[in-house]
């Protein structure tokens, strides 16, 4: 797929996204907003798994930490501007990424995955038990902040579905751009090299541990930010935002879209949210169905939807070449 086709495609999707509220009902706008937040979370996960090959099973921890931090500021300091609370949420994700990352980065594959699961559970346990801080399994809700102040543009109500949609769209687009650039920096390239051949990367004189630590911080930041947006969107936070099932959902979304592709999480969250929406309308057992669907994908088509699309394209190009020659 050449550059201009890609560029046109992106532009098309952007225009479509901006125009959505005109021809879609509130229900779909609500879903799309959720999809975009999950896309951000999924993208931060892609940087770990797809790009660097690190299978983290506790990624929801950063999502939740960001959410709880923002909620705590909104709850505990009513005068604070919402934008600042989002910033704090993102920073808490960054710090959590550094902290947990520093403890797991030396671990090899199996240990690493297990350890991330353990830390994820630990964060959940703290959120669940520390009633004084986090409200326990009731969570936190009911803060008084109702509006978001944009310099020059005015005040916007946080309960306004369309405003939230555009706000999240803006942040999502910026995040996608930043993540894309990240993969093209020397650091991003180093991480890709680590995935390809960690021994050789080491023997090129590269400090792999430092690179990984920076990665953990960055992905924590993005995940924390998405978590902060999420709690604004849902108007509450609860321990199930960072439990094992949430971490699993992140993995499911990645696998549906294709966990090795940059676009994978974006496509994956779209399909996931709509699937869950329609399945849960029919049965309560949607988590079970999604779990089985996930296992089938891993067994038979781990490249996901984006992988499927790429394969189709390759075949068409191959056939074209055959015909032309």
């Amino acid at each position: 797929m050449n550059r201009s086709v890609q560029g046109a495609g992106i532009l098309f999707i952007l225009i479509l996204a901006v125009m959505c509220p005109w021809f879609m009902g509130k229900f779909h706008i609500y879903l799309l907003t959720e999809i975009m937040i999950y896309s951000m979370l999924g993208l931060s996960y892609y940087l770990l798994l797809g790009h660097t090959g690190l299978l983290s099973l506790g990624h929801a921890a950063y999502f939740g930490i960001g959410g709880y931090t923002t909620a705590l500021f909104l709850h505990g300091m009513p005068g604070v501007p919402v934008s600042l609370t989002l910033l704090f949420g993102a920073i808490s994700g960054l710090l959590a990424g550094f902290l947990i990352g520093s403890m797991v980065l030396r671990l090899t594959k199996i240990y690493f995955s297990f350890a991330t699961l353990a830390f994820g559970q630990m964060v959940w346990a703290i959120a669940w038990k520390w009633r004084g801080l986090t409200g326990g399994d009731d969570g936190l809700t009911g803060w008084s902040a109702r509006e978001f102040v944009f310099p020059f543009l005015g005040r916007f109500s946080l309960t306004h579905v369309t405003f939230l949609y555009y706000f999240v769209l803006l942040i999502t687009v910026i995040t996608i751009g930043v993540c894309w650039c990240f993969t093209r920096t020397p650091l991003g390239n180093t991480l890709a090299a680590v995935k390809s051949n960690p021994t050789r990367t080491n023997f090129l004189g590269i400090n792999i541990n430092a690179a990984k630590l920076m990665l953990f911080g960055f992905t924590g930041l993005i995940a924390g930010l998405s978590g902060s947006l999420f709690i604004l969107f849902k108007k509450m936070v609860a321990p199930n935002f960072l439990d094992m099932f949430m971490s699993f959902d992140v993995v499911v979304m990645s696998v549906i879209g294709g966990y090795s592709s940059f676009l994978g999480p974006i496509v994956g969250s779209f399909v996931y949210v709509y699937m869950v929406e329609y399945i849960s309308a029919v049965t309560d057992r949607w988590q079970l169905i999604m779990g089985v669907f996930f296992m089938l994908l891993v067994l038979f088509y781990p490249k996901g939807l984006v992988g499927m699309f790429k394969d189709v394209l390759k075949r068409r190009i191959f056939l074209k070449r055959k015909v032309c020659s």
Partner: protein
């Protein structure tokens, strides 16, 4: 000439096995030093010790008078040592261009940079292209390294080592598995790219060894049997015993087809 690398009484034990036993070795600056010996003598282990992949059980290693044993590999590499691998260890999933670029970026200490795009670093691009042309892989720069022919992968392996512009180059059987023509090519390449540097090369092909080396060390069962010029080594009785006959008879396996 001063020694650029010194191993003092270096031993490496794995469990009860002494893979390397009290090795004393000096590599002089600017020389081409060959390390030969039967299979299992411990030559690759020595490389692993020199580059920090293993820590010596006993003894010390000094690079340019600075003690390096116990340091992490990446720190040792940064001091100016680079190695190639006996079993090809390239980035198979990345393009040839990207392979060399990884090394160039590392050499410039840009590996952790995140505030600029890789594509905008012009000096990296130029250097990568230069190295690619030196190892004659420029026409294949966009191919995935894993799809290259064996000889070309060997050249890439060499290229990754050279791209770091090290002072001390450690080559572990750079000609393993190559045809006579390819071997001649790679020896010529090695001569070219290691000019002005210190080279330690592990090799089985005696023609290559006698062609390239200023001095030779013979390793057997983890100890150095002898160190000296090619002439001295040819005449050494202990060495002859180990090789069951004169060194000229020692042929690499593939020639015995």
């Amino acid at each position: 000439m001063t020694p650029i690398l010194r191993l003092n009484g270096v031993s490496k034990h794995f469990g009860g096995i002494r893979v390397i036993d009290d090795v004393n070795l000096e590599i002089l600056e600017g020389e081409r030093h060959a390390l030969i010996g039967p299979n299992g003598a411990g030559k690759s282990t020595l490389f692993n010790l020199m580059t920090g992949f293993y820590s010596p059980t006993r003894g010390s290693i000094h690079f340019k008078e600075k003690r390096i044993d116990g340091l992490a590999p990446y720190k040792i590499i940064r001091l100016g040592i680079a190695r190639s691998f006996q079993i090809i260890n390239i980035f198979k999933g990345m393009q040839v261009y990207e392979n060399i670029r990884n090394a160039v970026v590392a050499k410039h200490h840009y590996s952790l940079m995140f505030d600029r795009m890789l594509g905008s670093l012009n000096e990296v691009r130029k250097e990568t292209e230069y190295i690619l042309s030196r190892i004659h892989l420029k026409p294949f720069q966009n191919e995935l390294a894993g799809t290259l022919g064996y000889g070309q992968q060997r050249a890439l392996e060499l290229g990754l080592t050279i791209a770091l512009d090290p002072e001390l180059v450690l080559l572990d059987e750079p000609g393993a598995g190559l045809t006579p023509d390819e071997t001649r090519e790679i020896v010529r390449l090695i001569r070219e790219v290691t000019a002005g540097k210190t080279l330690v090369i592990v090799e089985h092909d005696m023609d290559v060894v006698f062609d390239l080396a200023d001095r030779i060390s013979v390793l057997n069962r983890g100890t150095i049997l002898a160190t000296g010029t090619p002439e001295e080594i040819k005449r050494n009785e202990a060495v002859k015993e180990v090789y069951l006959g004169s060194l000229f008879e020692e042929k690499p396996l593939w020639q015995e087809r």
